[in-house]
Symmetry: C2
Subunit: 349 residues, 2 copies
């Protein structure tokens, strides 16, 4: 709580009351309301004085003279960092999260999708999940399954248990033996390398070798090599975008549109979440703290999740700045934990 010298205990309680109230009602809150609703044992006049101070030091703002106060960005920040108690997620909700993530899923993408759905439903805001990025894993095996004359299915097995498949047009007819050859060669060169370590250098090298070895495979090889490259801008799973239309701050369609457009762009959402993957624990970004334009009226709560203790992805919730932080933080935390568990169990068998 360094660098907040103006904050004594009473100011803290008043800021808390104002923020809590505003989060619930979306209406600027006045001294009278506070005195009535939260019994702090002081009169409206005193509260008014404190409020004036809090406004002066930037924690509150006033939409117009003679309206109540609302928390400023700095106010929310202080609230999140030093005031709010992370609210327990109800046992009911906990069970639901557990149960719905636990259902036997055979495909990771379904699990991720489900996670986004739960998060959106329980938070009543928009939710998104960055699927596990396989760069954290280790190359285990590659299989080439012929599909028809000119098409091969590349199956990439990664440890822990991810599987990536790519359909590749070879442009040549390849015999079963030739495929086995290529697969064998690639396997011998790549086995047990971490995906992050398989740089373009090594790939180029391998390519040169194979070219020499059998130059007519060029096209096929090209395709296979390309399919090894992980695309970081992979899909993002979003859910509950429409929820934000329930928030009074987005009653104006043009504002809602700005945010919904942002959420519709995978790259934008990706860039919002990208550095959460390597964050410690839950991260809260309030309003314009995010550099992304169009986020100024929004806040984001996000957290990384892991497999076997290694962070592999992230998930988060986006809502108005006036967000129910204490609940959402707890929710994001617990969903991230559960997803980590389920994934870990699922992938390492």
């Amino acid at each position: 709580m360094a660098s907040h010298p103006q904050m004594d205990d009473r100011k803290k309680r008043i800021l808390q009351a104002i923020t809590d109230d505003y989060i619930n009602t979306a209406e600027p809150v006045g001294s009278r309301t506070i005195a009535r609703r939260y019994n702090l044992g002081i009169s409206p006049a005193t509260i008014r004085n404190e409020m004036a101070d809090l406004e002066e030091s930037g924690y509150l703002e006033q939409p117009h003279t003679s309206a109540g106060r609302i928390p400023s960005q700095k106010g929310y920040r202080f609230y999140v960092d030093f005031i709010m108690k992370v609210e327990g997620v109800s046992a009911e909700e906990k069970r639901r999260i557990r149960r719905e993530l636990d259902e036997r899923r055979r495909e990771i993408s379904l699990l991720i999708e489900e996670t986004a759905r739960i998060l959106a439903q329980l938070s009543r805001y928009a939710a998104f999940v960055l699927p596990p990025v396989s760069r954290a894993g280790v190359f285990k095996r590659l299989e080439l399954v012929p599909v028809d004359d000119q098409t091969v299915l590349v199956v990439l097995v990664i440890d822990p248990g991810f599987v990536k498949t790519h359909l590749v047009a070879t442009g040549h007819r390849l015999t079963q033996r030739q495929l086995a050859h290529i697969a064998g060669f690639l396997n011998s060169r790549l086995r047990n390398l971490s995906l992050a370590g398989i740089g373009s250098g090594l790939l180029r090298e391998i390519r040169a070798e194979l070219d020499e070895y059998n130059s007519f495979l060029d096209a096929a090889l090209d395709a296979i090599v390309r399919s090894l490259e992980t695309r970081p801008e992979d899909q993002v799973y979003t859910n509950g975008q429409v929820n934000i239309l329930e928030q009074p701050e987005f009653r104006d369609v043009t504002k809602a549109k700005a945010v919904l457009e942002l959420l519709a762009e995978d790259e934008a959402v990706y860039s919002l979440l990208a550095d959460t993957v390597n964050a410690q624990n839950v991260k809260v970004v309030i309003g314009q703290e995010s550099a992304v334009p169009g986020m100024s009226a929004c806040s984001m709560v996000s957290a990384p999740y892991e497999v076997c203790g290694v962070p592999v992805g992230a998930l988060g919730v986006l809502g108005p700045t006036r967000m129910h932080y204490s609940h959402v933080v707890a929710l994001v935390e617990i969903v991230a934990e559960n997803l980590s568990d389920v994934l870990t169990r699922m992938l390492v068998v």
Copy 2:
């Protein structure tokens, strides 16, 4: 044009003018406007008389006394069926569609996604595409690729060229030989059967046989057999939902929310498009002609697409009832054609 006895040529031209104008301006249109903007060679007074007739026979309605007229659902229907000329898609747009769909795509899902994107961008409404359903195809081959001790990747090759992969937890350790055995057996029984023909009856039969043959494979088999079943409620690719917020009829957030919620539900969108797959050519559904509640303010233009002349999927555009039908119909038509072409070339090599 049977069953429209009240319609003479002049009424048709007036209905056309009103509909065109209303589609462009979203404002009820009055007799004066028509006389000025479309030179039909008749005076406002005459137009007023005709408009009264058109309202009487249900083609027009009046939001309130002394406002202009707007087309009713019946009016739009007549407009779409008998009046509008399908507007040529500009050469520029045609080239763009061709080019963007033509780019080497290796994965069908990417192609479908791209199709939805183009459709949304060019129509400026919401677009969706039902991916090709494999039931139309023929079982060609099944491969079982071991991923780790208890997991198998089932690769299902369908003719024409679709590939479906499913990750399956077997619950048992299976040797390479056992897998080869199962695959061989299933292949011998299923090869060249149409997927639609592989009913649960045949599957049960096969299962009994395999059970008998090697009963301890039960769990593994169960999973494999299940993965053969095609899920009709497969994913739907939607794009441009936010576009509808640009339409003045959805300036009211609650209306917008209703439609966006509908679009967010895959099943709902699926049910909208389901019977288009087997439709002839382009289909236009206006307002409450669709039974889906919440669609009353919307219209949908959709068309099937095919591979090798066999309909396999559908795509469509959803917008307000006041939709630019002539353009959208042309657009949907041409995108469907292009997708059919590209898919056919892509799948049959």
